[in-house]
Amino acid sequence: MEEREKLIAETKRWEETTFSKSVSRFPERKKKFESTSHIEFKRLYTSIDEREDDYIERLGFPGEYPFTRGVQPTMYRGRFWTMRQYSGFATAEETNKRYKYLLEQGQTGLSVAFDLPTQIGYDSDHPMSLGEVGKVGVAIDTLSDMETLFEGIPLDRVSTSMTINATAVILLAMYLAVAEKQGVKPEQVRGTIQNDILKEYVARGTHIFPPRPSMRIITDIFAFCKDNVPQWNTISISGYHMREAGSSAVQEVAFTLANAIAYVQAAIDVGLDVDDFAKRLSFFFNCHNNLLEEIAKFRAARRLWARIMKERFHAQKPASCMLRFHTQTAGSTLTLQQPDNNVVRVAFQALAAVLGGTQSLHTNSRDEALALPSEEAVRIALRTQQIIAHESGVADVVDPLAGSYTIEALTDEIEAGAAAYIEKIDAVGGAVKVIESGYMQREIADSAYQYQKGIETKATTIVGVNEFTITETPSEEILRINPEVERRQKEKLNEAKKRRNQEEVAERLSAIKKAAKTTENLVPPIMDGVRSYATVGEISDTLRAVFGEYEERT
């Protein structure tokens, strides 16, 4: 205590002498320095800023509650994070080639991007699919496409993450069916489905059904995987897209964890034991430009989630309280202007994710403000991770920035800010309610608008966009999706439909319908459906007929 008083007095002395002499001659750049979440950065953090409660309680040790310092005891000294580049485009054949290329380049896991028709449950020949087939990801209509996608890739040896939400149950069923054909047992299969429908209503927009039946599909998946696919991450609760839509760092943590609370509660409400499914929950965050705020964000999210699981849901097992997460660098920060600058942005964002203790990482490519990334751009993005891992040295110490007065103070502030939002959301009935009322959407839209105004008034500097500009010479080599892809995919769909047993398909679709109308778990009948080569669109339509469709508020 004596030490602290001495420091307070010394700080005052410094402010009145050394600092004030200097600042009167050389004023600071801004009146106020703040983060995206409007956290005001102090000039100087010292041990005065350290909270006085127990170190063990707030920070603890890596691999132990509350996991502030990381979820594994050795972190990257044991094994680096999984380098997992999200990719998929055109047809299953072309994407399969890209996957093999990425695996040869040293990537350690796959991450599947599906096209929008697949994500929204339309076959490639549906009128709504016009122009979208194979564009933002690979087109999958039937199990036959999925077999091609993973041809020559042993599913007992790679882990695969699939960005799929409203139709997650169908694509998971297809993945398990491909594994089955390869002779790989469900218990050997490792991977993740995003399966986070709530953020789709808020930010990403690939929802199909209303929230209630959507939550039921999700809890069916939790229950099925707990018994049959124990190594599968059944959900990846995502702040990424809400951040891309414009939220601040604090909102990202708050809304992600508020959604997570809704999933856990829904699973408990259908009778699942929290410790049976919670260890397979995973998370997905963005990593934006502000290095310090981002590092603190990851640490804050880990601690807050651990406390929620223990105090609110009474989880007993440590693994239930662990926030394991994937990170992607922020796509919305990529500029079309001077695109090579994006390589540098991505490197800093990736560094923050590693310093924040991510379990896996996708680094964006420099050309993504224009199109899907070219192979060369993806290679540089992957090399960025490899340089951080092998050359920078930051992976050699667990949670190396812990104890930094600044990082710890920011971690506390972000945790407190997010907890306050969650309290507000709880008070009005939880995440599903506030999504239905449009609250999260409005909060995010407001932040996005402020951010844009900040750029236009130059309160925020974006290098190459509002400062340090040049006359642009467009000379980029970009990846183009051959317009023939749509026609070829429709042909493949027709052929697959011709080859199958139509009666069997009809029977299995009606079994899915029957299950949808009861509380029977939907995964087994959907597995039977995909095995008969029923299409993504047919299965989705079957569910639409029972569940209805969600109508967006505008």
């Binding site: 016009l130 122009g131 927009g205 199109a371 608008y449």
Partner: protein
């Protein structure tokens, strides 16, 4: 009689759900004194044209980040012509590579705004190029 405000329809054709840009533009145009309707996501070109005519829009702003712009933007312009509503100006934005810009303009999209565009520049463009119908 005071001059009628410029009426704008901001629309998201296709299946793309990224509407941060669309919402920001809608708000900026509103702040600049225009009357703005935002369609929400997942609109077909037919729906967009119908809404534009119904809302008596002077301008339609299309936003697409999924790469489907080469199919969907020209269709909106074509259907407007089919319905003799080509006096409604169409502009677009999103993830659109440089080499597509000329083709889109040829197809009847008056201007394309790429990432990094200031909302203020779009406001000025509209004020200079679109006159509200009386």
């Amino acid at each position: 009689m005071p001059e009628r405000k410029i009426r704008v329809l901001i629309a998201k054709p296709g299946l793309d759900g990224h509407d941060r840009g669309a919402k920001i533009i809608a708000r900026a145009l509103r702040d600049a004194g225009m009357e703005v309707v935002y369609t929400g996501i997942r609109q077909t070109p037919e729906q967009i044209v119908n809404t534009a005519i119904q809302e008596d829009a002077d301008l339609v702003g299309l936003s697409c980040l999924s790469g489907a712009h080469m199919t969907l933007f020209p269709r909106v312009a074509q259907i407007l012509r089919n319905k003799k509503a080509e006096d409604i100006t169409v502009i677009g934005g999103g993830i659109i590579p440089f080499e597509d810009v000329a083709a889109l303009k040829k197809a009847g999209i008056k201007e394309i705004f790429q990432p990094g565009t200031y909302t203020e520049d779009i406001v000025q463009y509209i004020k200079q190029n679109v006159k509200p119908r009386q």
